[in-house]
């Protein structure tokens, strides 16, 4: 079928696609998102094609390469339908067994199943794995059902129903009304009500208006936008078009950071497909609505995520922010009314239009509706993307879904909101996660990065880390941000290097206030947050660094030393073989010692020392014991 010229033709096309599919048909899906790509899904794909052919199953079993499922550390992920059997960390050499066992004999390949690290229980099906079981994946869930480049797949799961409904059954005002009633708040960070923003842009005078997708995703440690853009570009496009119709825009831009090449590729294919079918371009589905869209790659600047910088960058200029007002809704791209939303915000729109504002606002809390995708990473057993209803307790995310902290270590804090956010300590794990509750904690929703830290993470260092990041990324246009962050960073660096002085904490507090108050854009205004929140909850850690020159987490390089306990060392030589700096002396049946001058404090030796001996430890704030004299090192 060539161009689709009416809703009836779309439905006919959808029926013809669905008639060739059935839920009972065997299908093997392979995650081909970026992380799985990195762990080898390309080779696994080759093996699947070859093996299906070997067994003469090519026409009988469908093979689909999907976007990210969210459970990235366990990739490459293979799911087998209709049962939903889920195999993790699949290698090319496993495919032969999967095909012969699972497809031919209907048996499981036990070793590829998920094993719960907390109790050793296995899960055969995707929906039984605790990581998935406790999520509500309204937005992300479609990723695993579709090939991101296939319009057919998208239509098979109900794609373009929302656009059709908006274009043919609703006025622009009604669309805006629905988004307002749904109480959707922007997922890009600040949580501004999207419907209100759309209304501003709709009401702004001007013939030419623009809509923009913000897929800059500069937040380190967050990748939900990547996953959506790579895994389901059609849905983002559909949301964008509904917004364009509501606002009265006929042109759109998608700003994607260039570090996300797969997102750019999949999106470009989706755009071409949509265009070919008349779902993008002139007179879409015969509705009279015209819409064209361009992809613009970012060039590696965090500040370009900020909306006024992003617009400058779209115009081909350096991405320096402007003070607001005027807001982009009135004076945006080339001075025209412009509406920018985050990828996840746009992806929520089809759900709202399809399911209705009432359904949408039934999920979540009073002030924050719907679900939110978090990137749950760091020191947590099940890392990946999790989508949960707003209002879920932090504890449930970290323990029920995340499976807690690995290796029996103690939970220390969770950092939310990226560089503009803060750290939340254990005492507040029962806080219900939504925009306002996090703000009350001195943290932030931000884009949804959630970095779990255990007892080995130094929170002074984490605050320093964010300042370093922001000092690098400050555009330099205004002095409070440029200098304020730099000076705070200097003090923080001194503290983590054991050069902290009495009075540094007060100095930091003063500089934080000044930067917060005087910076031009939100980068500078929020830059002190990580410092202030760690000072609030972990002040004693700052004091230990300053007064005792001790890093309680045994993490700050300048304040720690590695030491082999002569009582425990069995002379096995594992550490010596692994040390990249040749800093360890030893020999057969000899107590090993570390040359403190040569040691680069990389930590490799601790991991190398067999668990049964655990002879190597870290010290901080105390002198390193003198090494055992040469003649006494021989072991019996």
């Amino acid at each position: 079928m060539p161009r689709i010229n009416s809703p009836a033709e779309l439905e006919e096309f959808r029926r013809s696609i669905l008639s060739k599919r059935s839920d009972d048909r065997p299908c093997i899906t392979l995650c081909s998102g970026s992380a799985c790509h990195a762990t080898g899904s390309e080779k696994v794909a080759g093996a699947i094609v070859a093996e299906l052919e070997n067994h003469g199953l090519t026409g009988q079993v469908d093979f689909r390469r999907t976007g990210c499922h969210g459970f990235c550390e366990q990739g490459p992920i293979v799911v087998i339908y209709p049962e939903g059997i889920c195999y993790l960390k699949v290698k090319p050499e496993d495919i032969c067994e999967i095909v012969s066992h699972t497809f031919k004999e209907k048996k499981l390949v036990e070793r590829l199943l998920y094993v719960d690290p907390t109790n050793g229980e296995k899960s055969s099906f995707e929906h039984d794995i605790p990581f998935y079981k406790n999520q509500q994946r309204l937005i992300l869930g479609l990723n695993r059902k579709i090939d991101p480049k296939s319009l057919e797949d998208f239509l098979a799961v109900g794609g373009y129903k929302a656009l059709t409904k908006a274009l043919f059954e609703m006025s622009p005002e009604e669309v805006i009304g629905e988004v307002k009633a749904a109480k959707l708040r922007g997922r890009g960070g600040a949580g501004f009500p999207s419907g209100m923003k759309w209304e501003f842009a709709r009401k702004a005078p001007g013939d030419q208006k623009y809509v923009v997708v913000n897929c800059d995703e500069g937040d380190p440690g967050a990748y939900m936008d990547r996953s959506l853009m790579e895994g389901n570009p059609f849905t983002v496009l559909e949301g964008l078009m509904i917004g364009a119709y509501a606002i009265g825009a006929t042109e759109g831009y998608i700003y994607v950071r260039q570090e996300y090449p797969l997102a750019v590729d999949n999106l470009s294919v989706a755009m071409k497909e949509a265009e070919r079918r008349g779902l993008l371009g002139k007179n879409i589905m015969g509705s009279g609505f015209d819409f064209t869209v361009k992809v613009h790659r970012g060039a590696g600047a965090f500040i370009c995520g900020e909306e006024t910088s992003l617009l400058a960058s779209l115009e081909g200029k350096p991405g320096e922010p402007k003070s607001r007002p005027p807001f982009p809704a009135n004076k945006g791209l080339w001075g025209k009314p412009t509406n920018i939303n985050n990828v996840e915000t746009w992806a929520n729109i089809p759900v709202i239009i399809n399911e209705g504002a009432e359904f949408f606002s039934s999920v979540g809390t009073e002030s924050s509706k719907g679900t939110k995708i978090f990137s749950l990473v760091g020191k947590v057993n099940n890392t990946g993307l999790v989508e949960v209803p707003m209002g879920i307790p932090l504890r449930d995310i970290i323990y029920k879904i995340g499976g807690g902290v690995p290796k029996g270590k103690k939970f220390k804090a969770v950092q939310t909101g990226g560089p503009s956010g803060g750290c939340i300590p254990e005492a507040y794990l029962d806080v219900k996660v939504d925009f306002d509750e996090l703000m009350k904690m001195g943290a932030m929703m931000g884009s949804g990065g959630m970095i779990v830290m255990d007892e080995d993470t130094c929170l002074v260092d984490i605050a320093r880390y964010f300042l370093e990041f922001l000092s690098d990324e400050s555009c330099g246009k205004c002095v409070p941000c440029r200098e304020g962050i730099r000076q705070m960073l200097k003090v923080m660096t001194d503290i983590t290097q054991g050069k902290g002085k009495e009075g540094d904490i007060e100095l930091l507090e003063n500089m934080a206030m000044a930067t917060q108050g005087a910076a031009l854009c939100a980068l500078g205004k929020t830059a002190p947050n990580p410092v202030l929140s760690t000072l609030k909850y972990f002040r004693e850690e700052y004091e230990a660094h300053i007064k005792e020159k001790r890093c309680p987490a045994l993490s700050c390089k300048e304040l720690i030393a590695f030491h082999i306990d002569p009582e425990k060392c069995k002379g096995c030589g594992s550490c010596l073989r692994k040390c990249p700096a040749n800093a360890i002396e030893g020999g057969k049946k000899t107590i090993h010692v570390i040359d403190q001058e040569k040691c680069t404090k990389c930590g490799t030796c601790i991991e190398a020392c067999p668990a049964a001996f655990q002879a190597i430890g870290k010290l901080s704030g105390v002198p390193v014991p003198a090494p055992v004299p040469q003649e006494k090192r021989a072991l019996a």
Binding site: A35, F71, R297, G300, G316, V377, G449, G603
Partner: protein, 150 residues
């Protein structure tokens, strides 16, 4: 450097001034850096002053005006990778290659760069060599990986 290829890239973007960044990205993708000659050509064909081009190439981190090594190492220093020990990985690589982040060695063998998140946070720490991803890397392993490159 092939001027006709540069012209072709410029034409792919209809020689629009607003596509300046996109054009530079495309040129950089082919050369791994931006030779002066290419920038001159862009300035001429788009009719934008060189100082604006210089502003862009220094503002955005993706651009380099110095030649790059045969092998490009990127170490992620994003938060997720940071808490899982990315700094130690970077230190070990610096040690093994003799160059710091942002540098290229004298033999033009390696260029070492840091990045702030590659979107594979679940696999942290992550390093990428010539486009090939390595996840959950330990310092010693990072040094081993580099031995495979000539």
């Amino acid at each position: 450097m092939d001027i006709t290829r540069i012209d072709q890239i410029i034409d792919d973007h209809n020689a629009e001034q607003s596509s300046l960044i996109q054009i530079l990205l495309d040129i950089q993708a082919e050369h791994h850096w931006l030779p002066k000659q290419a920038l001159d050509r862009v300035a001429e064909k788009l009719d934008v002053p060189m100082n604006r081009i210089q502003h862009i190439t220094t503002f955005y981190k993706a651009f380099s005006q110095v030649p790059k090594g045969r092998h490009q190492i990127h170490v992620c220093m994003g938060t997720a990778c940071h808490v899982r020990g990315a700094q130690r990985v970077l230190d070990t690589i610096s040690e093994a290659t003799g160059i710091k982040a942002g540098e290229t060695d004298a033999e033009l063998k390696f260029s070492l760069e840091t990045v702030n998140c590659l979107g594979c946070c679940a696999l942290g720490p992550v390093m990428v060599v010539d486009g090939e991803y390595h996840g959950n890397v330990a310092p010693a392993q990072a040094a081993d990986v580099l031995k495979n490159y000539e």
